[in-house]
């Protein structure tokens, strides 16, 4: 079966844009991606759009109302924090199925500030009564499970945030560009132990978009900047004994990693960079192991050794990650693919991973959905 290619991809600088509407944000990213591909909306045969905040609001169609109503099929995707990657994957599938040659995938989100999660019950609020449903606490509990098994420390989790904020100083599209030394991270306001405020991803507005094309179309248009999609995997959670009260962020990432490595016929050692779902600093260390970047129990050592910093053995989240680049939920999945694509095209500027040939983009949506894409540079 022929491959699918990313022919154009781009993202807005993440930030806060209260005066723009969700469709306006999405339209901006869509036009940027079309420009990157050298194509127009008139050539797109289908569109997949990811958004959570207005999941019932036909955001994809409203984006087309901004940039070109061509009557193509539009599917709106909501899959928690994996929504953007889900839209990308649906676009990939539609081309794999032979239905289309050129497809647009857009992810967009406009976020409020403050805590996500919690609340929600029939009679009274159970937040702070039956534990916490806030995202910082849920991912803290997952991190503490790792501490229980392997002795992972607050300092090790905090080092993730130091690294990712450092990376973001080299990414002009990140929400923040400043260094956060270890003591600053550890002494920041405690939100949900062990996650301090600087160990929580930033709520921002943003959008990212990609133009995917068939192999035939990629050859016709020229492959010089195309990126090959070597694998796409999407999983939901398998039954786990605690999962009714404690979302399992590990198992579905492990199964998606296994499927994607098998599909690509590669292993973790073949990767030159990884963008993974660091919604909280605790999550990143778990995902080192879930993605097979190190052995189980060695995630803490991996951050201590500097293996995942730019210039290290396997750089992780050189974009700055969700922790510093920002996390506009529906856009994140495509933004991660954008970052990997930039490196594979040698266009990542100061944060370029030298000679990057293959990269992995991972997102995890609580509830749960895990999406992984493995991308490869097209060698001429």
């Amino acid at each position: 079966m022929s491959d699918v290619y990313v022919l154009g991809i781009d993202m807005m600088k993440f930030g806060r844009f209260p005066s723009m509407t969700v469709p306006e944000l999405g339209a901006r990213a869509a036009l940027m991606a079309l420009d990157d591909a050298g194509l127009t909306i008139m050539q797109m045969e289908s569109m997949y759009c990811a958004n959570l905040g207005q999941a019932n609001g036909m955001v994809g169609q409203r984006i087309l109302r901004e940039i070109g109503q061509t009557g193509i099929p539009v599917v709106n995707c909501a899959n928690a924090c994996a929504s953007g990657a889900t839209a990308f994957r649906e676009a990939w599938m539609s081309i794999k199925a032979g239905l289309f040659d050129l497809v647009l995938a857009v992810g967009v989100e406009q976020m409020g500030r403050g805590l996500l999660g919690g609340g929600g019950s029939n009679g009274i609020s159970t937040e702070g009564l039956l534990g916490s449903g806030t995202m910082p606490a849920v991912f803290a509990e997952a991190g503490m499970e790792h501490s229980r098994k392997y002795g992972t420390s607050l300092e090790q989790f905090a080092k993730v945030s130091v690294k990712n904020h450092h990376h973001s100083t080299m990414n002009p599209k990140a929400m923040y560009q400043y260094e956060t030394p270890l003591d600053t991270v550890m002494n920041a306001e405690m939100i949900a132990y062990p996650n301090t405020k600087l160990m929580c991803s930033v709520n921002v507005d943003g959008a990212a978009a990609a133009v995917l094309g068939s192999e035939r179309k990629a050859r016709e248009l020229g492959l010089s900047r195309a990126v090959r999609v070597r694998a796409s995997a999407l999983t939901s959670d398998e039954w786990q004994e605690r999962d009714l009260v404690m979302p399992d962020i590990n198992t579905c990432t492990r199964s998606a990693a296994k499927k994607s490595y098998e599909m690509a016929g590669v292993g973790p050692r073949d990767l030159d960079l990884v963008e993974l779902h660091d919604c909280f600093a605790t999550a990143e260390i778990l995902h080192y192991e879930n993605l097979g970047l190190c052995r189980d129990g060695e995630g803490g050592k991996m951050i201590d050794a500097g293996d995942t910093v730019l210039g290290g053995r396997i750089p992780v989240n050189v974009s700055g990650g969700l922790l510093s680049k920002g996390h506009p939920l529906g856009a994140t999945g495509i933004a991660n693919i954008y970052e990997v694509s930039m490196h594979l095209r040698g266009e990542a500027g100061k944060r370029q991973v030298d000679g990057a040939r293959m990269g992995l983009a991972h997102v995890f949506g609580l509830g749960s959905a895990c999406a992984i894409h493995i991308l490869e540079r097209v060698t001429q």
Binding site: L115, G118, G119, S121, G123, I124, S125, T126, E127, G128, L129, L130, G131, S132, T134, P136, A137, V138, A140, E141, A142, M144, E145, S147, R148, L154, E189, M190, I191, A192, Y193, P194, N195, W239, E241, R242, L244, V245, M246
Partner: protein, 150 residues
Amino acid sequence: MSEKRATTGPLPVVPFLKIPDDGEAYLEGCLCTRCDAIFLGQRSVCSKCGARDQMETRRLSNEGTLYTYSIVHRSFPGVAVPYVSAIVDLEGGGTVKGNLIDVDPNPTKLAFGMPVRVTYKDALGRKDCDGNSYLSYFFQPRSQSPRGSR
């Protein structure tokens, strides 16, 4: 399932908290007799093995151990912080999430595997829009059982 309770008494905070007319409140679960998976509350289909109508109702233990936790310092307006959000494995099966009370909310005072007891009290004075009060469950430390439970 019909629920019997005094019309004037508190309502259960979750459907799997049972308040019998005569006796102590308890947590209820069900066991899949085909694959031994345990769930909170009642259901007819097992999400582990897919078996239908193979569930047996179980009264869950009031004793368990701390599996993992977070100490919550920032919550929504009106929620008292800090508090310990705890995931507790009950003896004999079942995992429940709730507040761990009567303990210093400090990581040096909390140990993975520490024995806890399920206790039942008013839901921190919270009432619904009809003025009903609720009975909730909490965890509190208990002395180490001779068996140990790590």
